[in-house]
């Protein structure tokens, strides 16, 4: 199937223009046009089938977990839009070639344009709601790039930002709506959704889903009150406006209404919201179109107005109204693209778009004048042009509507009023610009644009006329197919023709034409009437409200994030107390069903020491050294607790870490004040004590509740599989290096990163070093006592031996890489303490950073190694080997992994402590003394 190609070709096409340089303008334009032209060819090749009733599908799985498939469809509705997007897109490529000035980067422009075209094609071909949404957001993004193409202009930047904010937010709302629909239906597949109308509309979630989806459609199609972004998007280069606001961007909204029509339409809710929004938008925007002085401003508001018309038609509860809406989509795309191109030509050749300055251009640019006149006449609904036919259909349908009950007459009346205004602004556009006396003070002398620039206009206007004359021949096939796709149900018979006889709609058309001319005649009164109202600029209001929002958020942030760690801790703890506390309140009773175990004296004594030491750490915290000693008591008691409760590995680790921690904190304390000044107010202390007591109470209750409840552990698996699956008897170690090896790998990586971070933090750190303790006693002259030096030196080989022993047996007995690494580190640090950093550094002539990094690398490579044998990451292998004289030993790849852990622990620990220790010696005032002792 070639369906994905239709999307893929323009996507590739966005790279094509980047291949050639800005100076090769013809090459650039032609090469860009090539791929979308092929795509158009594919579409046309499919067209006869689609018109005959075929619906083409093509689907590939993308993210099946989310229900997101790369599913495309080509039905009548897609066909109609594809022809518009690709056809007008190609014309725009041709037009832009002559519109862009040599300073503008053409490759960039075409790349954006093709990206945008791709996303539009994706929207109309998506056969999956989520995929549709992805492309929908892509249009928001790529239109942002296009609108902001002249990024040196503030107007362009701000207009682009506003368009992105409004349509992007609408898109998010739409996603929420799609998700709701997906939940109701159970799939995001478009066909299933379209077939589930009863299911969706009976669901209570229909209301929010509908509102959210409509929010997306209305923001994109610039429906009141979200219309304000569109006029400001006019800061874009005119070809962009011609593309975005005729055939594409804004049509995505009405496309969505048509696409989901079978699933969502028909309810009272849909009827009222969609019809009335469309109606209000149509009249409101038409009125403002009449008042604008900027050519593109007039066109922008008229676009909004016509989109309102289409929206209204999709809202009405008649099938013919949908047909009329689809037909008007085609017609509007053609005449509006032509008019935008005309405004671009005028701007290009005269240097201004201000209607007040322009006048009498028909003499200097006759062809543009004629073409614009025809396009504007089509927009006004003058007979014999395509706009007339769809407008007649629209007026007919408004008469049929039963909406608003007894006030149903309002709808045709208001629709006629909209048409009156439409005629008035079309007339103004043409008469003021092309007729009247020749303009004098134009920035450039006006002349006709190059022919290739007028050619797209000629084609479009030609189509307008041909469709207007023989509608049935040209469009009925495509229109019929599109209507079938939109209505699904038996489609209504419709007959496109220019003459329906004398009837009410014809009278309404006549009223519109006459009334339009009348309003045009008295437009000056309208201008002066409008002058009473203060000028309001949507951009200013939008930016003002964004600024207000930012200010408001800043205030909120300042309240919460005030730079006080104490405040943050407070919030954190209050949240913890609240959440955990409320959980505890739900328990029937604190004590669970498990029988408590008996106490003994040793346990009591241990607990008492731990509690006292813990409290002492807190109470005596202002005398920092004492507090630190208390802390180390707690640490040792915790280690004993681990040993008591059958966890030798933990006890060993805790013991080693405790030593390292206390050395670290002692070193740090050397540089920090020895005492904490008394600062806290009494109230603060009371508050903190209460908080701490509450927190402790909650933790203790939670722990008790947990301990007294039956245990349901997954550990049985590890116990059963440790020997057979991991080849080790020490289950804790096997979990670390095998079952949960990935966790450990992450953890040693963190350790390594922390050590490197510390290394960096210590770099070039200059700290004040006191020469005496807090009581004024000078430090001992004997920096490295002989006894310690001797003992540590003779202890080192022993300690290293022990660590090797612990490492080797770790897989089967308590021990392992972590503990062995810590033991090695402690032994080396003892050497540093005993002999001084300089002495140790000279002899241990290696850097610790590479060791830590090597450790992580070994562990990672061990994991990767299992890939070589076709296993998952970190799968371990083991075997028994017999070595002469030593006997049978068991070797596992986990051992290699553990080696990585070992090296990381040694490297990281020493990196931290040795570097910190270096600070104490490098700039010490008593350097001479030190040298003597060393």
């Amino acid at each position: 199937m070639s369906l994905p190609l239709i999307v893929l070709l323009p996507l590739l096409g966005s790279l094509v223009p980047l291949l050639s340089s800005n100076r090769q303008r013809n090459l650039n334009a032609w090469s860009t046009a090539l791929l979308p032209a092929i795509a158009l060819g594919i579409v046309i090749a499919h067209a006869p089938g689609v018109i005959a009733g075929e619906v083409y599908h093509s689907s590939m799985s993308w993210v099946p977990q989310l229900g997101l498939d790369l599913a495309f469809r080509l039905d009548g509705l897609s066909l109609l839009f594809l022809l518009l997007i690709l056809g007008i897109g190609l014309l725009i490529i041709l037009y832009s070639r002559y519109y862009l000035s040599p300073e503008d980067s053409m490759p960039r422009f075409y790349a954006y344009l093709m990206l945008f075209m791709t996303s539009m094609i994706g929207i109309v071909m998506a056969d999956n709601l989520l995929l549709l949404w992805v492309f929908w957001e892509l249009t928001s993004l790529s239109s942002f790039l296009l609108i902001g193409y002249w990024y040196h202009q503030s107007e362009a930047r701000r207009g682009a930002r506003m368009a992105l904010a409004v349509t992007g937010l609408g898109g998010l709302a739409m996603l929420a709506g799609f998700l709701l629909i997906g939940h109701i239906v159970g799939t995001f597949d478009l066909q299933t959704v379209l077939d589930s109308r009863e299911l969706i509309q009976a669901d209570p979630r229909y209301l929010p889903a509908l509102l959210l989806v409509l929010l997306g459609a209305f923001t994109k199609s610039a429906q009141f009150p979200f219309h304000f972004w569109l006029p400001h998007a006019m800061a874009a280069p005119t070809p962009v406006s011609a593309f975005l606001h005729s055939a594409t961007m804004v049509k995505a909204g009405v496309f969505l209404l048509a696409r989901l029509h079978p699933a969502l339409a028909g309810s009272q809710l849909w009827l009222y919201i969609v019809t009335l929004t469309g109606l209000v938008t149509m009249i409101y925007a038409a009125y403002f179109a009449l008042l604008k002085y900027d050519l593109k401003g007039v066109l922008a508001f008229s676009t909004v107005s016509h989109l309102g018309l289409i929206t209204m038609l999709f809202g009405l509860d008649s099938k013919l109204a949908v047909v009329a809406g689809l037909f008007h989509i085609i017609n509007h795309a053609m005449f509006k693209a032509a008019l935008f191109m005309s405004s671009g030509i005028i701007d290009h050749e005269t240097g201004t778009r201000d209607i007040r300055k322009l006048s009498g251009l028909r003499r200097s640019m006759p062809m543009t004048a004629a073409l614009s006149g025809l396009a504007a006449a089509s927009m006004a609904g003058v007979p014999l042009l395509n706009g007339f036919i769809s407008k007649e259909m629209m007026l007919t349908e408004t008469l049929e509507s039963s909406l608003l009950g007894g006030l149903a007459w309002l709808i045709p009346v208001l629709a006629t009023l909209g048409s009156v205004l439409s005629v008035a602004y079309s007339l103004r556009l043409i008469r003021n610009v092309f007729f009247g006396p020749e303009a004098k003070e134009l920035p450039k002398a006006p002349h006709e644009a190059p022919l290739p620039m007028r050619l797209p206009m000629l084609l479009l206007v030609g189509l307008c006329v041909v469709i207007g004359l023989i509608p049935a021949v040209i469009v009925s096939g495509v229109l019929d197919a599109a209507a079938r796709a939109t209505i699904l149900a038996p489609r209504p018979e419709f007959h496109l023709s220019i003459w329906h006889g004398f009837n009410l709609p014809l009278l309404m058309s006549a009223i519109a034409l006459a009334g339009g001319v009348g309003i045009y005649a008295v437009r000056r009164n309208l201008f002066s009437f409008q002058r009473q109202f203060p000028q309001r600029n949507a951009l200013m209001i939008f930016e003002h409200s964004v600024r207000r929002l930012l200010q408001w958020t800043q205030v909120a942030i300042d309240r919460l994030e005030n730079g006080s760690l104490q405040r943050y801790m407070l919030w954190l703890i209050v949240a913890v107390l609240f959440l955990t506390g409320s959980g505890l309140l739900d328990l029937d009773q604190l004590q669970g069903s498990r029988q408590p175990q008996p106490l003994d004296g040793l346990l009591l004594a241990g607990a008492a020491i731990t509690i006292l030491a813990g409290l002492g750490t807190a109470v005596l915290h202002r005398r920092r050294l004492v507090s630190l000693m208390m802390l180390s008591v707690v640490g040792l008691m915790v280690s004993l607790a681990f040993a008591r409760f059958s966890a030798p590995d933990l006890a060993l680790t805790q013991l080693a870490v405790e030593v390292v921690t206390v050395i670290l904190l002692m070193l740090a304390l050397f540089f920090l004040p020895q005492r904490t000044p008394k600062e806290s107010t009494g109230a603060r202390v009371v508050r903190d004590v209460l908080l701490a007591a509450g927190f402790g109470g909650v933790v203790a209750s939670l722990n008790f509740a947990l301990l007294t409840r039956p245990l349901d552990s997954i550990s049985g698996f590890f116990l059963d599989n440790s020997v057979s699956g991991g080849g080790g008897h020490n289950v804790v170690n096997v979990i670390l290096v095998d079952f949960r090896g990935f966790d450990t790998l992450g953890e040693i990586t963190v350790l390594c990163i922390a050590a490197i971070g510390i290394y960096k933090l210590l770099n070039r750190l200059r700290l004040f070093m006191p020469s005496s303790d807090s009581e004024g006693r000078p430090w001992s002259k004997d920096l490295h006592p002989m006894l310690l030096a001797t003992v540590s030196q003779s202890l080192l080989p022993l300690a290293l031996l022990v660590s090797v022993f612990i490492f080797l047996r770790g897989h089967n007995e308590p021990g392992g890489g972590f503990i062995a690494g810590l033991v090695t580190a402690v032994a080396l640090i003892l050497l540093y303490i005993a002999r001084g950093v300089d002495w140790a550094q000279q002899r241990l002539s290696f850097q610790y950073q590479p060791i830590a990094v090597t450790g992580v690398a070994i562990a990672t490579l061990t994991g990767l190694g299992s890939w070589l044998f076709g296993h998952n990451f970190l799968t371990s292998a083991f075997g028994h080997f017999s070595i002469p004289y030593i006997g049978e030993i068991e070797l596992a790849t986990a051992m290699l992994f553990d080696l990585g852990v070992y090296l990381t622990v040694v490297g990281a620990t020493l990196m931290i402590l040795a570097n910190l220790g270096k600070l104490t010696t490098r700039h010490r005032p008593s350097k001479e003394n030190e040298k003597e002792t060393v």
């Binding site: 175990q597 813990g614 904190l665 904490t676 402790g696 007294t708 020997v723 289950v731 953890e747």
Partner: protein, 116 residues
């Protein structure tokens, strides 16, 4: 025994939190260390308190201590050390760069938090 264990955990947590709420860096670091002891004890106890349980698989032994919390706590201890080290070095760096060991942001014009 369970009640006693829980009490110890609670006291350590309370003391740690009180210190963590202080306004100077060193007590905060000590407090965090104390808190991590409490947390480790808590996590360890989720496997139940086993007295004289086997830690290593042996023939004919059925009474094992739960190895999973042990493995988790083992890594937690080492990571806890890294965290303590990092925060204390950070405290030293702050003192070196700003000349103060207060935990609150001192850069603003006016003291943002009430003096503590």
């Amino acid at each position: 025994m369970e009640a006693l264990y829980a009490t110890v955990t609670g006291f350590l947590a309370a003391s740690g939190l009180y210190l963590a709420l202080r306004g100077r860096t060193f007590p905060v670091v000590v407090g965090l260390t104390l808190l991590s002891y409490a947390v480790n004890l808590f996590l360890f106890s989720t496997g139940g308190l086993t007295t004289n349980g086997a830690a290593v698989i042996r023939e004919g032994v059925t009474d094992y201590a739960d190895p999973l919390p042990q493995a988790l706590v083992l890594t937690a201890i080492v990571i806890g050390f890294a965290m303590t080290a990092f925060s204390v070095i950070l405290a030293m760096r702050v003192r070196g760069d700003q000349g103060s060991d207060q935990v609150n942001d001192q850069r603003g014009e006016e003291p943002k938090e009430e003096k503590s």
